[in-house]
Structure formats: structure tokens, C-alpha cells
Chain length 466, copies 2
């Protein structure tokens, strides 16, 4: 008994230890909620103050809008600028409306350029103008320049603040420079060694700098095998590069190869998450919706997709309609036909999902594409044999009719081959055409496998059974 | 004309610049392939040497196995240990077989513990024993200890090498210590301030250390708001924590809260990628397969899932079979019934995908779950009204029969509500039961919506139309 209790206490301890890593506990959440309801401004502030900005943002996202708005008004300029950066778009939009543009403009200069830009780019045009007008000139110029880069490019992702030194400096000079200057760079992991025209000659990691004697020159210790990101590079390309080389930070250069900023890993993680989410949601036909989207946004994404699905379902039904006389004579066909369509749809979805993921991870170049198509066709062929046998055996047992079993076998095999073919060719084709394969592939595939499934099954039945 | 040419040249330039960020160009790949075929050992080595380990790994993955194996034998101990760490599991397994366990054991000490462990944990038991026996004692102990932690835990993810200093040291002392000692930590971003029993008192970022005057004490500049990861924490929890707080590196502690290692962001990115992939693949029923899986692995994942799908399709068919007499009298029912089932299946997949993603991002606690269920039901209700109207209007136009149109309306509405209900309740229920909702949800949902769709539509038809 004692032992048991010990063990369960230890388990509770472990769970408690994990939960306690997050600053926002249900207790704190309830207390802050209560303080806001009771108009206890000081108490609300005291409770919020020790929370990490990420936890403050989490809390604000979870509170009902009116409570969150009241809390933000209570906090006033005590609201941490970083908290705004951590909010999801939807909630930030609402909170910014509550704060007003003037208050927002007071917060922005405390953020690194990438976070400030990220907030400003989501505003409506008139709000954007108001905020920009209220920003100090130097911040305004950086934000405006950031907005001039294409959406979802490295230029939008980068922070402008970087540490640069000339190559003839020693380690000692560099450290003295870092100690004596005012820096506004936040946390950084790299120092860029540049020439007088801001071309990058090399990079020095902070850990290398710290482990080197003062008299050595930066040019001796710099890493010359580095990668610079063009400011117009798409953020998904940036994420690929970071992932491939295991980078933590990288310089960003303009079209003349001059250093203009740097991208750090935390921004890249957001991109990786977004990208994975987009693919998953697109394949399921959910649009951009998340748990925190409004009802209207959710409906927009879902309803449109279901409407497309209604059209494709009707097309498949019309194929069935072609054979209504056949079905009337042999109702077993109506019973069995969904099996053919469903197996094809599932096999096609499997293939297309592997293709979409491989495309997202940049694994499908021409060579790989060819071997992918071959392997998928082989898989389809093998699965075709397996499931044609199983389904036709089952049909025979069920309806005791060899002819129906034969038709089932041929239709199932044909549909699984078609599923494998279309599951590879459709996403690769869409990629060539510049369409995101994740968005359009699955609707194409299931339409194809439904139509082919019904047509081959019922067509063969009409020819040979009736 | 001149202008056009200019523009296309500039565009080519931009494409070239992006491609040139990757060291492995098709030209280099062909040249190395050729050198291996021609048995030109020196040329192959010269061509490989300047490539980043990530690119070397990419090349080895892309070469046919016999060429890759020959290349690895040519390189011998010149093969970079880091290249092994970058290989995907499948290829690494094959390459390690070619190298032999003795050569592998010579490489491992060059890697940080996390990478070495990652390689060893994938070996077969007998290979593992051989490698461990050939490792120097200190490395062996670390790897064996690592293997004692649960799979997919922080203990498997962490590197053991960390930099620690006592709190009374000054910045100057710390830097002198870093300069004068031999370190085997690789790149690092944090220094841990600990007490004599290895309990962590605070963390100092390297950028902070570099920007601070020598006489200041570590205790004054350390960040006391930090998070330590229990060594047994699941890697997905670790990823959540990094994501939530935007961390780059974190200390790992044993059950007595003593510092035993650290996890860095590059390992976490791998976890995030794996996690996203698992959800996507599980929802599509593809198992663990990727582009690089063997045919056998691919078949295992796919065929099992298709077999389950065959069973569920048969169950749905049996429902149809119950109403064969009804269908015989009114073939229009056979034509229309797949529309009801397909719309339900799609709506259910939409909901379940949002749920699975939210669960992966740890957004679905009790409070959020309740509001999620409510919102999904509202969406189902609205979509139910929209698509019941559309589908019944369409049925009326098609078959000119008001009764069929009414049955279609009721069945469609009912099935979309069931899709919304099951799309929320099934994943949340599986989560409670400790089953990964991504794996089992979608098969459950489509079975439910098929069965309900066919049953309601045909059942109502049997009651009211015949």
C-alpha cells in the first residue's frame, strides 16, 4: 500500500513537473480572469507581470474576447510588446482594435524588425497608415522597406539588426566593441565579417569567438563555408535551407549581394509549422482554418470544398445513372459498387499524400520523381492483385455468382492501378503548372477513382452479365 | 529585344543564385558518380571533400546503392562522421553495413552524443554490441546511458556536452575558462550557471556574455526565468515547449533536478518534421512510409490500411444490401446514395483533420475542446442546411420526384450532423483512451458516415417511397 502510494505520488510529481514548465497554470488563468471581472486593475497587473510573453499571449487567446479586451485596457502600456508578437493573427487583430493604433505605435519600436513587420503587415491599409505615421522615423523607414519585399519572402522574415565587423579586427577588438556599444540586436548567434561594401566575407559563431584568444584576427577564425539568403527568396525555400544544413541563423542579402539583415531559427520554425499545417489542411479540404478561426472563416474554407465535392459526387452519380437499367436487373451491383470506388479513393489518397509531403520537403526532383512513379505503380500492381482476389472472393461468397466475382476482380485491379497512376501524375503535373499540389490533388484523385471505379465495374457488368 | 533578354538573364541569375546555395549541383553529382564508376579514388575524394556533410548525405541517398557503397569504401575513414548523422535511417542502415562496425566505431567519437546515440539506437542488437565494444570507454558509457532512457524521450535527444560555470565567477573568468580549456561541445548558445550539486541557477546567453563588462558576476547577468526539461519528457512535449517559448537550447535534468545535458533546436526541428509527417501520413493511412522507404515497408503500411478499408467498405455495402428490394423498385436510389455518403465522409474528414492538428499543437484542453465541439456542430448545422437544400434541389431536377428530393434533404442533413459529431468526439475520445487520434480517426469517421449515409437515405426511402 505504502509503495503504491509512493509510486502514484511520484507519477503525480512527474506530471506536475511537466505542467509547471508552462507558466500559465489553470489556477493563474482563473485568478486573472477573476481579477478582470472584479475590476481589480492592480491585481490583474501583478498576476500578469511574471508570465512569459508567450504565456501572456496564450492567456489572452483563451479568454473570451470581452474579458481579453478589458484586460488589455487595464494593462495599458504595461502590455509587453513581445506578447503582441506571440498572439495568433485572429486574436491580435481584435486586441489591436481594442488598444488603438497610437498605443500599438508606442509598442512597436521595442520589437525586432521582423516581429514589428509581422504585426504591421496584417493590418488593414488605413490602420497601417495610422501606425506608420505614429512610428519614429527610423522605425518607420525599416518597416516600410520591409513591406516593399514580396509577401512570404525572406525580406519579411528577417530582422534588420545584425552585428558586423571588418575582417582585420581581432577577437579582442570585436569583444570590446560588443561591450562598449549600445546594441539593439536582441539575441544573436552569428557575427558577420564584411568588407567596406557590406559584402559578407565570413561568419563567426559566438561560441567560436568566446573560445578564441584575443589577438587572433576575425579573418582567421571565420567560417568561409556559409550560405546567404537572397532577400526575395520564398520563406518555404528558406525553411528548406535551414532544415537541410541545420542552420540557426543566416544572413540575408539584396540583389547586389550586400548584407541587409538576418533570419533566425525561431522565425523558420513558424514557417515549418505553417507549411505542414497548410499541406494537411489542404489535403483535407479545410482551407486556412484553425481552431481559433472565426465561424465565418471556418465556413468559407469548408463550404467551398464541400460544394466542389458535391459537384464531383454528382459526376460520379451520373456515371451510375448511365447503367440504371443494368442495376435494375442485378441489384447486387448497387451493393458492391461502393467497395470498388472506396478502395480506389483510399489508395489514391495514400499515394497523393506521400507525393505532397515529398514535394514539401523538396525531395521530388526529376530523377526522384521517376523512381517514385515506378515504385508507386509497382505498389499499385501488387495491391491490385491482393485486393482484386480478396474482393472477388468475398463477392462470390456473398452472391454465389462467378461472373460478378470476375467483374469485381477486374474492376478492383483496374481502379487501384488508376489510383496509383493518378496519385503520382496529378500532383507532379500540378507542380509543373505552378499550382500547389496539396490544394487540388485529393479532389482530382477521388473524382477520378470514383468515376473509373463505377464505370469499369458497371460497364463490365452491362457487357458480360446482363 | 535586348530588354527581354536582360530580364530573362536576370531571372536565370536569381534561379541560379538560389540553386547555388545548395552545394550539391547536378554537375557535381554526375562527376562524382562518374569518378566512382571509373574507379578514380582520388578524384572521388577531391570532389566530395568540399561538400557540406548534409550535401554528402544527400548525394549518398540519391546514388544507387551499389555506387553509394563503392563510394563509401573509397572514402574510408575520410567519410565525415557528420555525414552519417545526416543520412536517413534507411540509407544509413545500408551504408553502415558496407562500412562495417569497426569503421563506424572509429567515427562515432567525433560526433556529439545525441548524433552518436541516434545512429546506435537504430542498429540491430548484435551490431549495437559490436560497435559499443569497439568504442572508447568514455564514449561507450555515455551512449549506453543514453540508450537507457525511453525511446523518443529528451534523454535520447540531448547532447551530454554542456558548458557550466559557478555563479560567483565573473564574465572575465568565464571567457578565460572558455579560451583556455579544451571543449568538445560543438556549437552552443547557452552557458549554465550551476551550484556544486549541478542544480541550475540560471542561464546566460552567449550574446549577453559578450556584451557585458569583464568584472560583472555571472549571477548578476544570468536569466533566472528559464525552463529545464526532465530527461524522460516525450520528444513531442519538448518540441511543444521549444515552439511555445521560442527557445533555441534548453538544459535537461534528471529526476533529482541535476543538469545532465542539453537539447538544441536542430534536434527539435527534426522532431517537429517527424510529428507533422506522422499526422499527415496517419490521416491518409500510409503508415510510416516516405519516398525513401523500401518497397516492403511501403507495402506494409499501405496494404494493412487498405485491408481495414475493405472491411469497412463491406460493412457499408451490407447496409445497402439490407435495402436491395427497395433499390430494385427505385433505381434512382442507387444513383443518388453515393452522394450522401461522400459528402458525409468529406465533412467528417475536415473536422477530424482540424482536431488532429489542434491536438498535435496541444491546443485542445478541456475548455477548448468544449468550444471546438460547439463550433463544429454549428458549422455542421449550417452546412447541413446548405447542402440538404442543394442536393435535394438537384435530385428533384434530375428525377422530377418530390419524395426523393425530401428523402435526400433529410439524409444529407442527418449525415452532415453525424459527420460533425463523430469528427469531434472520435478524436477526443481516442485521445482520452491514449490512442493516437491521427491513426484511427479517419477510418472510424468514414465508416460512420458511410453507414449512416446509406442507412438513413435508403431507410427513409423504404419507409416513405415504396
Amino acid at each position: 500500500m505504502v509503495n503504491n502510494q509512493d509510486m502514484s505520488e511520484r507519477k503525480d510529481d512527474a506530471v506536475g513537473r511537466i505542467a509547471s514548465l508552462y507558466g500559465l497554470t489553470p489556477k493563474v488563468e482563473t485568478a486573472i480572469n477573476q481579477a478582470v471581472m472584479d475590476d481589480e486593475k492592480r491585481r490583474a497587473r501583478t498576476l500578469m507581470a511574471p508570465l512569459h510573453p508567450a504565456d501572456q499571449a496564450d492567456l489572452i487567446e483563451r479568454l473570451p474576447l470581452e474579458v481579453a479586451g478589458k484586460l488589455v485596457r487595464m494593462l495599458g502600456d504595461d502590455l509587453d510588446a513581445e506578447t503582441l508578437a506571440h498572439l495568433d493573427e485572429q486574436t491580435r487583430d481584435e486586441i489591436v482594435d481594442v488598444m488603438g493604433m497610437a498605443a500599438l505605435a508606442r509598442q512597436l519600436p521595442d520589437l525586432p524588425t521582423d516581429d514589428a513587420l509581422n504585426i504591421v503587415e496584417e493590418l488593414e491599409q488605413d490602420e497601417r497608415d495610422d501606425v506608420l505615421a505614429a512610428l519614429p522615423a527610423e522605425d518607420r523607414i525599416l518597416v516600410e522597406e520591409g513591406l516593399s519585399f514580396p509577401e512570404d519572402s525572406a525580406g519579411r522574415l528577417m530582422q534588420r539588426e545584425v552585428v558586423t565587423v571588418p575582417s582585420f579586427w581581432t577577437v579582442g577588438q570585436t569583444i570590446d566593441f560588443l561591450r562598449n556599444e549600445e546594441h539593439d540586436v536582441g539575441d544573436f548567434y552569428l557575427i558577420f565579417v564584411i568588407d567596406p561594401t557590406r559584402h559578407v566575407l565570413g561568419e563567426v559563431r559566438l561560441s567560436t569567438l568566446l573560445c578564441t584568444q584575443r589577438p587572433r584576427r576575425m579573418s582567421e577564425i571565420m567560417d568561409a563555408d556559409f550560405r546567404l539568403i537572397p532577400v526575395t527568396m520564398d520563406q518555404e525555400e528558406v525553411a528548406s535551407l535551414f532544415r537541410h544544413y541545420g542552420m540557426v541563423s543566416a544572413g540575408v542579402v539584396d540583389e547586389d549581394n550586400r548584407l541587409v539583415g538576418m533570419v533566425t531559427i525561431d522565425d523558420v520554425i513558424d514557417v515549418i509549422d505553417e507549411e505542414a499545417e497548410e499541406d494537411l489542411m489542404a489535403l483535407a479540404g479545410v482551407g486556412e482554418a484553425s481552431l481559433r478561426s472565426s465561424l465565418r472563416e471556418t465556413m468559407q474554407g469548408r463550404t467551398g470544398w464541400l460544394a466542389i465535392n458535391l459537384i464531383t459526387a454528382v459526376i460520379a452519380s451520373m456515371v451510375i445513372g448511365l447503367f440504371d437499367a443494368t442495376i435494375e436487373q442485378l441489384v447486387a451491383l448497387a451493393v458492391l459498387m461502393p467497395i470498388v470506388a472506396s478502395m480506389g479513393g483510399n489508395a489514391g489518397t495514400q499515394t497523393v499524400t506521400v507525393a505532397v509531403r515529398a514535394i514539401a520537403l523538396r525531395q521530388l526532383d526529376n530523377l526522384a520523381a521517376w523512381s517514385f512513379v515506378r515504385r508507386e505503380l509497382l505498389v499499385s500492381f501488387l495491391n491490385g492483385i491482393i485486393f482484386a482476389s480478396l474482393a472477388s472472393g468475398l463477392s462470390y461468397v456473398w452472391f454465389g455468382n462467378v461472373d460478378i466475382a470476375m467483374v469485381m476482380a477486374v474492376a478492383m485491379f483496374a481502379n487501384l492501378i488508376v489510383a496509383g497512376l493518378s496519385g503520382t501524375i496529378v500532383p507532379l503535373g500540378l507542380l509543373r503548372l505552378g499550382v500547389d499540389p496539396a490544394v487540388a490533388s485529393s479532389v482530382f484523385i477521388t473524382t477520378i477513382t470514383d468515376v473509373v471505379g463505377f464505370f469499369v465495374f458497371l460497364g463490365l457488368a452491362a457487357l458480360y452479365l446482363i
